[in-house]
Amino acid sequence: MAQKYERIILVRPDIFEAGGDGVFRYLSEKGGKNLVVLDQDVLRRLGATEHSSLGGRAALDYLDEYVQFPEGEGRGSSRTERARTGASRSANIRHGHVDDNLDVALIRGAGDKDLPGLVAKVGREYSTSDGSPPRVMTNNRSERIALKADRIAVEKPGFLMVNSGIVDEWAVTGNEELLAKLRESNYNLPLERAVEVLNQDLRLNQFVRFVSSSPDFARVEGDLQWDRDRNEIRGVSNLRLRLLDDREKSRKLKIGEAVLPNLLGVTPLDMSQYLALQYGLLNPDISTFFLCGSHGSGKTLLAYAAAIEQVLWYDKGERQRRGYPDADGKGGRYERIVLLKPNQTLGGKKRDVGALPGTLWDKLRDHLSSYIDAHRETDLYTQMPFEDLMRHPKLPTSLFDASRTTGDLHLNGVKARLSPRTEAMEMTYSGVMYGRSFRNTLVIVDEAQNFEPYELRVIIERLGLGCKVVIMGDPWQANGEHVDREINGLTSAMAHYVNTPFTGMLTLGRNYRSQASRHARDWRTF
């Protein structure tokens, strides 16, 4: 008897581009017998060099490695022929097995030109146990509308969807009882007790916000157990909730023992900016930090100032004050900064700058404009041009004809300089992430809501020892081809990392731009 399936799903290419091989793994784990149907034209498109995406390549790798196509399947072009040869399906279908829960069928069809026809063909060849028709899985809005108009069952990729409310989970609202208990117990409460009083679970690095005319904050902290080389957190003990002290409420930044009047001339304007700097961007225990907020909230300026601070070279005494692990050595906390933004190029390949006119620097400068603006807000602006961050200390490069000219910097009365060994900052794009790995690097992923989930996963997989990644964005500004506020790299990564001890997250709550700018957020131009 022919196999009946729990689910028959015709998967469209955007699902692979967003989620890589995730749909196969999801259905394989889901239980029941599932069939994924792929149009061979779609397969060819995923593999074509000029259109390939990281996720598409991952899907092809999965198929190549895991799908077994038994002998004898798919021979015979007509019913008579199939009856004669004993073949179970038409010649236009290749049927393969992955495991007990998942089969894959490759079907030759009209693909994009006749999706309803393809669905009908699948429906003739295969059947479900409850008689329901095959479904199409796609997140492409126009395709979904067209399919619904043809009365074809459509589904979104639930396994990729994340509630955008996750960006507000960086802090929970506290109550008076908890605040009173914290004050009674010297501003520290064992976490178990705090959870009991608040009646809500809390996790490491999360904040509690107490409502008042100028809000109080508490933070969940613990004693971290590191491995011998201080590369990995192995465990956490003595979990507690700690009420922030007066220095913190006055928003004074501290790096190690050094209390700073400002960070390269930048001062946090409110508590959420302060917390983002102190406990996220400048915190060496946080190797994965999510910084969310709408336009004008200060994300770029804060990330830029914190990143530059941590690649500057200070003298030995200052390194000791800052608590750098190798205080006798040289260099900043990180060797350099790598900046990543999604890049939808004009008329060129996806994620590629090659097609733009002008020099390479001309092409990159537009993508760096928000950082150039941030540079102007810092004390660095009067001491060095932004370009010197990207110039080699001694040699001309493909980006610049001349090497760096900036010498010593003077910041808050302290002498510092850029690395004499390497460029301080590099900009790259996701298309070249394969084959690269980074060490001792601070990676900033900007506009992460416009990365597809699989793309961001590949970026983070490249991070080697000593790296920190800062992932910035606003899910409500997701406007890429295959992303929206429920399916995007930013929230997908947050959901994956939220409960790890090395992760922090914060959403900046205020807009510091003009009234017209704030109002523009609600301006519907679509």
Partner: protein
């Protein structure tokens, strides 16, 4: 008669923009919704009930906008939003306590917004935080949807948005 298109969730939420801090805005909004739905006496006829509930929400938000627009110099704490939030909490927090102890008191239909918010708050371990998230969620959804134009029933559209908020 068609509703004045200025009387809709979107315009009230836009008015709350006077509270610049996102979390504070979420709290004021969440508490305002709870106060409107938990304290307004309602009828039991289904369609009229839905309209009454949405209008009660509008009324509450109108009051919230008006209070939060007060000048900081006239506010005891110099933060009008915080002062209004304190007023709201004086009403809503005891209601939540009663809900937790005695269960739902509503006599209106089981599909009403009032019932939905009661159930949600009853089940919630930290109701204050739940209200904040309700406020943030409604704000984001409404702004994304935008102003409602030319649709037959603004009340219906806003009702659905509110229903979605209390289901989350």
């Amino acid at each position: 008669m068609a509703l004045d298109s200025n009387l809709q969730l979107y315009t009230f939420l836009e008015g709350l923009r006077v509270i610049n801090d996102r979390d504070e805005r979420g709290l004021v909004l969440g508490y305002s919704l709870a106060q409107s739905l938990l304290t307004t006496p309602l009828t039991s006829r289904r369609q009229q009930l839905q309209h009454d509930e949405v209008r009660a929400v509008y009324h509450g938000l109108e009051e919230a906008v008006s209070q939060c627009r007060n000048s900081p110099s006239s506010s005891p704490s110099s933060n009008p939003a915080y002062d209004y939030l304190c007023e709201l909490r004086q009403v809503v927090d005891p209601l939540i306590e009663r809900l937790k102890e005695a269960g739902s008191q509503t006599s209106v239909g089981k599909n009403s917004l009032q019932r939905a918010v009661e159930l949600q708050l009853q089940k919630s371990r930290n109701p204050q935080d739940r209200l904040r998230r309700n406020g943030l969620g409604l704000m984001d959804s409404s702004i994304r949807r935008g102003r409602v134009y030319g649709q037959g029933n603004i009340l219906r559209v806003d009702y659905d948005l509110l229903k979605e908020t209390f289901r989350a």
